[in-house]
Every structure is written in C-alpha cells, then in structure tokens.
Symmetry: C2
Subunit: 155 residues, 2 copies
C-alpha cells in the first residue's frame, strides 16, 4: 500500500533525539504503548471510538502522538481503573467549553458527575470500614463465621 505523501516539511519531530528546531514533540504509537503499559491495538481502538482524536501522521502514514494525546490516553486508563466506562470517560473528557456548548451546561454536567463521585466515595468508605472491622475482629480471635461485609453497602 502507498500512503499519501505530504509535499511540505512535516512540523513533527519524532525520533526522540531532541535536536533544535522542533515544533511539537511526538512519539510513535509503540512508544506510547510501552510508556503506558498498554497494547498498540488499544490505542488505535480508542481512536476508532473517538476518545482521542486521530494524531498527525508522518509521510509514511505512521501515527505521531503529541504529549497532550499521551496524557489523554493515560487519563482514560486511570479512569478505567477507577471503574468508569469508556462512555463515561468520553463524557468527562468533553467537559469543557466548545462550539455550541454553554458554560452553564458544562457546569451542570460537572456537578452531576461530582455528586455521582461523592456517592461512590461514600460507598467505598463503607466498604473500607466493613473490611477494617473484619480485620480487627480477626485479630481478636472472634469467630468470624458469618459473612461480615454483607452489611457494608446496605443503603
């Protein structure tokens, strides 16, 4: 396959070795993957899903990621670990002023997310307390025969 060849000097740097005259520091998809400990395919998947915008390419067609996008991918991963779905993460990432989005709307959505997160924190704290109690009881030799965390999240 032949890739479209840009007929003007690319503003990308790439190659890591930071010589002078750079416009934007970028790294290859493989480097991003290694740096974040994820698969190359996952990064391309996020692009397909629209979670990150398509990065600029080299003349060869190779993706070259600017630092901003790398940070964005890292955010996605961390949020994922926290239990957010990709859909929720997309919502979080869209919380900013853009064309056709009012400030009030952003604030409203942010506040809804905050309430949601507070709820989760509360429940995690309940879970933590239940586990602490369990660990303590266990130290005290009491017979912990029932399932003691069941009460943790009762609302």
């Amino acid at each position: 396959m032949v890739y479209i060849v840009l007929n003007f000097p690319s503003p990308l740097v790439g190659e890591g070795s930071g010589e002078g005259g750079e416009v934007m520091e970028t790294i290859s998809i493989g480097k991003v993957a290694k740096k974040l400990g994820i698969n190359i395919e996952t990064i391309r998947y996020y692009e397909r899903r629209g979670l990150i915008k398509a990065p600029p390419r080299k003349e060869s067609g190779y993706r070259q990621y600017p630092a901003e996008t790398v940070k964005r991918i890292q955010f996605i991963r961390h949020a994922k670990e926290l239990g957010f779905s990709l859909k929720e993460i997309a919502e979080l990432l869209s919380l900013r002023i853009e064309q056709g989005v009012t400030c009030g709307d952003v604030r409203k959505r942010a506040e809804a997310k905050i309430a949601d997160i507070e709820e989760r924190i509360l429940n995690l704290q309940r879970m933590k307390n239940a586990l602490s109690k369990l660990a303590k009881e266990c130290k005290g030799r009491g017979p912990v025969s029932e399932c003691p965390i069941l009460e943790a999240l009762e609302k």
Copy 2:
C-alpha cells in the same frame, strides 16, 4: 420434565403471607429480581458463577431464596456499581473464616483490599477536585478551552 419430589414436609415458607410456624422466610426468584431491580437470569447467572450458593428448592424445583442470599445478591449489585468485577466481589465475599482458612490469611487479604480501596478513594477525590475546579472556573466566565481534567489523575 419431572422434578425430584421431596418426600418430607418442606421447611420453607414462601408465598409471602407470613402465617405462623415458619422456619425460614424465603421468596421466589421473580420476587428477588423485582425487589432488586434485576433480571431473573442474572440471579441464575450468579449462581452458575458460584457467587451465591444454590438456594433450597420447593418440591416443584422452584428456587426459594432466604433473606441472607437476597442480601448477598444486593451486595454484589452494589459492589458492581462501585466498579468491582465479579471476580473481585467473589474475593470480598470469601473474606471470612472457613474450613482451611487461617485468620491471619483473612486479615492479610482484607488489609490488601483496604489499601486498594484507599487508593481508589484518593483517585476519585482527585477527580472530584478537578471537576469542582472546572465548575468553579466555569462560573467565573474564564475560557475553559483546554481539557482541564487531564491533570486530575496524574500520579
């Protein structure tokens, strides 16, 4: 199909209308599902996965759930909402003294879970702070053009 018929009076009550002489209050799978707002199939799925033990049956083969199991299912659902996987939830539910499990082991596992949860709480708090800041900036009319939550979870 013919189900195994128990040839002794069942100790179950069922049917909801609490007459005297009950040994264990139990409810049908449909009632459990409605009560918890989940599908019947999900409950059976949890049974197949070993997250809940197979409940006693009526002579007809119908499952009859004791309150304890209902609580357990509810716990699973809440923990799921918090972002725990079914595997993690199984681990949480197994945190108790049983045959062949030492108290020290349970304590160790509980403490590991606690550390894990604390980490999550911290990250959620970071996310919340970032969102609060975003909402505040938005109130103040500042141009929130960049993506301001990216910094939220940087470690």
